[in-house]
């Protein structure tokens, strides 16, 4: 086989998510009263990147065969923190941004430390840490409020050269600065190897623990970038429990739609980004086709259920039934 075929096979999940998103987005814009305009794209992009950042965060952890149920709460916590800190002069704002991102990194690092060194199951560990992160968020913002440096917020949620949504440019920059180096580093490979077969990775002398730790910590950082962006859009901080939980849930849907295997070791954050954008477009489609918004959560739930079920198909190929339980 030619090289490009292998490349294609590897990227199949990502390309599929890309295709689904494009198809849905075309249907959406062609039925939108305003049509395909810079304004419509900007609004869609601003809504989409929030979930895209959280989905990238989830991808990093899922690759290690783990799951991070605290991503939504890190997203909420950093939103509340940003509504206090990302304000004032340029220097003060910059300090605030660094502090918010650092907090996300720390949250992710705590998750990683508990899972790796405490040997707890990721699902249990991150439910607990997520509850803690939400508790802190609530203390920071008992009621919605606060403010943000509006110049920065407007610049990052506006358009470049009048057409390109700035939030998309930031998303691209994060992919280039965080995802690409990670996925091509030894640590990134260790994260994949640990997710695919931890024992084989151990026997090969792969730095499993450092790889997994990096995945959890960077996951926290990416969720914080999402939280920061939420502040830029809303100009406020809000410790909204339901919204935090929804982001966690949607991040899992986005990851699966993006071709990332919940069994670990397979998939890419770029796929998850398209998965996130596609998932967001579902809501927009319901809107342009005048569905009752009450139906939207049910509809999203069904999509999530179908998406996670697809992952179980490999079990039909197993010939020794004891392997079901491994």
């Amino acid at each position: 086989m030619k090289d490009w075929r292998y490349w294609l096979a590897e990227q199949r999940g990502t390309l599929l998510a890309f295709g689904i998103f494009i198809a849905m987005f075309v249907i959406y814009t062609s039925n939108h009263p305003a049509g395909f305009t810079a304004n419509v794209v900007q609004t869609a992009s601003n809504k989409g990147v929030l979930l895209a950042f959280v989905a990238m965060a989830q991808t990093l952890v899922v690759i290690t065969a783990g799951i991070d149920l605290s991503v939504g709460m890190i997203f909420t916590l950093t939103n509340c923190l940003a509504s206090w800190l990302v304000i004032g002069t340029g220097i003060e704002t910059a300090f605030g941004v660094v502090a918010v991102l650092g907090t996300g990194l720390l949250c992710g690092a705590i998750n990683g430390a508990i899972v790796i060194y405490g040997r707890l199951q990721p699902i249990v560990a991150t439910i607990a840490t997520g509850a803690v992160y939400f508790g802190i968020a609530l203390l920071l913002r008992p009621f919605p409020g606060g403010s943000v440096n509006e110049d920065l917020a407007d610049a990052l949620t506006g358009r470049l050269f009048g057409v390109v949504p700035a939030s998309l440019v930031v998303l691209l920059a994060v992919v280039l600065l965080v995802w690409v180096p990670f996925s091509r580093s030894v640590l990134g490979r260790a994260a994949y190897a640990a997710g695919s077969s931890e024992m084989a990775a151990y026997m090969s002398g792969v730095p499993i623990r450092r790889g997994k730790f990096a995945a959890y910590a960077l996951g926290g950082l990416l969720a914080a970038i999402g939280g920061l962006f939420l502040t830029f859009f809303t100009y406020t901080g809000d410790a909204a429990y339901a919204s935090g939980n929804a982001y966690t849930l949607f991040s899992i849907a986005a990851v699966v739609l993006g071709g990332v295997s919940l069994f670990g070791g397979k998939g890419s954050a770029i796929g998850a980004i398209f998965g996130a954008l596609a998932f967001r477009t579902i809501g927009d489609l319901l809107f342009v086709f005048d569905f009752d918004p009450l139906w939207q959560p049910l509809f999203q739930g069904v999509i999530l259920l179908i998406a996670v079920s697809l992952g179980a198909f490999v079990l039909f190929r197993v010939r020794n039934r004891l392997e079901w339980f491994l």
């Binding site: 086989m1 994949y192 190897a193 695919s196 024992m199 084989a200 990775a201 026997m203 039934r321 004891l322």
Partner: protein
């Protein structure tokens, strides 16, 4: 070879697991530019030896020297650093990564802190060519390769680490004949390049073709080293036998010939590449053993009977009538009445945190309950019967089964199945890791159950048990039954020779038996 300075030496290496001695003052020396074969039966200490060499486990005592200076390996990575690379039986490849990713996994080439994919590709291609597997594409995912190709990648991966000593543990067992020929060419070339190769195999013809030097292990010691070709196969078998006889077995009754259909029969069972046209019968009151080296399809055969494997071809007959056994719950049902005592009691046999009582009644819950409610009185009566029958030592029925000793845990596993009064009992190496006293109780019990009419199929890695317990033994090799030994034919010598697929002359059997007994007394 003789007189050459050894590259690597092990002296007085011992390793114990609990009370079991896996290695006892073992010695070996490895020379550059030679292939050194290690032989021995199950549990002779081969695997422990190479795990010590490869830094996977630390020895309790003894010293290792490389180039004359003492070395200690804290991890597999440390052994790799020193130039010792091991290809284990269990594959160490990561399935979702590409071939190239896997080949460089321990030490990927880097540029600006990131993995240099071009260099990685180049290293992988070179290594694949050196391993004689240039047909494997470096970008292919390991998951998509068949087992034999994966084994070739495993070898390429080892070569990419530039080893000075390469250890191959049954590395050819998954390969096709064409691959084996290729690998032999590669191994001979590596030898001429000055590598030291340690080759562990149960295939005598491979050893004859490849090895320069052979060392035989028995009971954790190296009992003989000789130049390859200087001993006949029968002499080699002679060296391998001589396990210490330490168990007392119940007498075997003389079986009257019967015309009744066998309780359990298999006709040409095949499954993937692990089972190859296996046919066998087990009659009522008979204990049939499964012998052979570990991993020749014995476990799969038991799982096949118990309805665990999918895609099985061939026929299973119960009382002479063909049946389809779709699942363990069908196998244990009244019509078939089968029980499987699994190999790993901790994962397949018991729910460790649950109580002894709960564990005992798991397999028989359907019989103990009416309309879904467990009848406590019946349960208590049956449990009391079982605890008495097997003499289970427990501080109470309501403590977690994990708190019992290994031997008593195993008794619980057996008891829970006996509560169903099975007619067919499959045992998968049931005495592994339990004390001698409990073992003897199990041997008595097995015979008692057979006398009461059960058909028993018994897999054991301990040849001693097969000799002491079985009316007949089927020896498996590469998933096929290679030999059937009946009654007095079941000797250690015959078991080892057929496990290695050597056609030993039966005339020598008597003599060999005597010799092994003598050695046992001396050891």
């Amino acid at each position: 070879m003789d007189g050459a300075v050894p590259l690597f030496r092990m002296e007085g290496i011992s390793k114990r697991y609990g009370g079991v001695r896996a290695l006892e003052k073992a010695e070996i020396s490895v020379t550059s530019g030679s292939i050194h074969a290690i032989l021995g039966e199950n549990g002779a200490g081969k695997s422990t030896l190479i795990k010590v060499m490869a830094g996977v486990i630390a020895p309790d005592e003894g010293r290792m020297t490389m180039d004359g200076s003492e070395v200690n390996f804290a991890s597999p990575a440390a052994a790799n650093q020193a130039g010792i690379v091991c290809i284990f039986q269990e594959l160490s490849l990561v399935p979702e990564l590409s071939v190239a990713d896997n080949i460089v996994i321990s030490d990927p080439p880097k540029r600006f802190g990131m993995i240099d994919r071009k260099a990685q590709r180049r290293i992988a291609e070179e290594a694949l060519v050196r391993a004689g597997a240039a047909d494997i594409h470096p970008l292919a995912l390991v998951r998509d390769l068949p087992l034999s190709r994966r084994q070739m990648v495993e070898i390429a991966k080892a070569l990419a680490r530039k080893p000075r000593i390469l250890i191959l543990d049954e590395a050819t067992s998954a390969l096709t004949a064409a691959d084996v020929a290729k690998i032999f060419g590669v191994l001979k070339r590596l030898r001429s390049e000055g590598l030291a190769l340690l080759y562990i195999s149960h295939r005598m013809n491979e050893i004859a073709e490849l090895a320069d030097q052979c060392t035989v292990f028995r009971n954790g010691r190296n009992v003989a080293s000789y130049k390859a070709g200087s001993k006949t196969d029968n002499e080699v078998v002679e060296l391998m036998i001589g396990r210490e006889y330490s168990h007392i077995f119940p007498p075997k009754p003389v079986r009257a010939p019967t015309t009744a259909a066998p309780v359990l029969e298999a006709r040409k069972l095949s499954w993937t590449d692990r089972l190859d046209n296996v046919s066998l019968t087990v009659g009522a009151g008979e204990v049939v053993g499964l012998g052979g080296l570990d991993g020749q399809g014995q476990r799969e055969l038991l799982l096949a009977f118990f309805g665990v494997l999918r895609g099985l071809s061939g026929q299973i007959l119960i009382d002479g009538k063909p049946v389809a056994i779709a699942s363990p719950s069908a196998a244990r049902g009244d019509r078939i009445g089968m029980a499987l005592i699994p190999e790993d009691r901790k994962t397949e046999g018991l729910m460790l945190p649950m109580t002894v009582r709960e564990n005992l009644s798991f397999a028989a819950l359907d019989r103990l309950s009416r309309a879904g409610i467990i009848d406590r009185a019946t349960e208590q009566r049956l449990i009391d019967d079982m605890v008495a029958l097997l003499a289970i030592k427990t501080a109470g029925l309501d403590i977690p089964v994990g708190a019992l000793s290994g031997g008593n845990q195993q008794k619980v596993v057996i008891a829970k199945w006996l509560m169903r009064q099975p007619r067919i009992i499959l045992l998968n190496d049931p005495t592994r890791g339990i004390d001698v006293g409990t073992k003897q109780e199990l041997y008595q019990l097995m015979r008692k159950l057979a006398d009461a009419g059960a058909a028993i199929l018994f897999y054991s890695t301990d040849y001693d048990e097969l000799i002491g317990c079985c009316d007949r033994v089927l020896v498996l090799y590469d998933g096929a039954v290679k030999r059937e030994l009946v009654g007095a034919e079941i000797t250690e010598r015959a078991l080892i020779a057929s496990a290695l697929n050597i056609h030993g002359d039966d005339a020598g059997l008597k003599h060999g038996e005597d010799a092994s007994l003598k050695q046992g007394e001396n050891a």
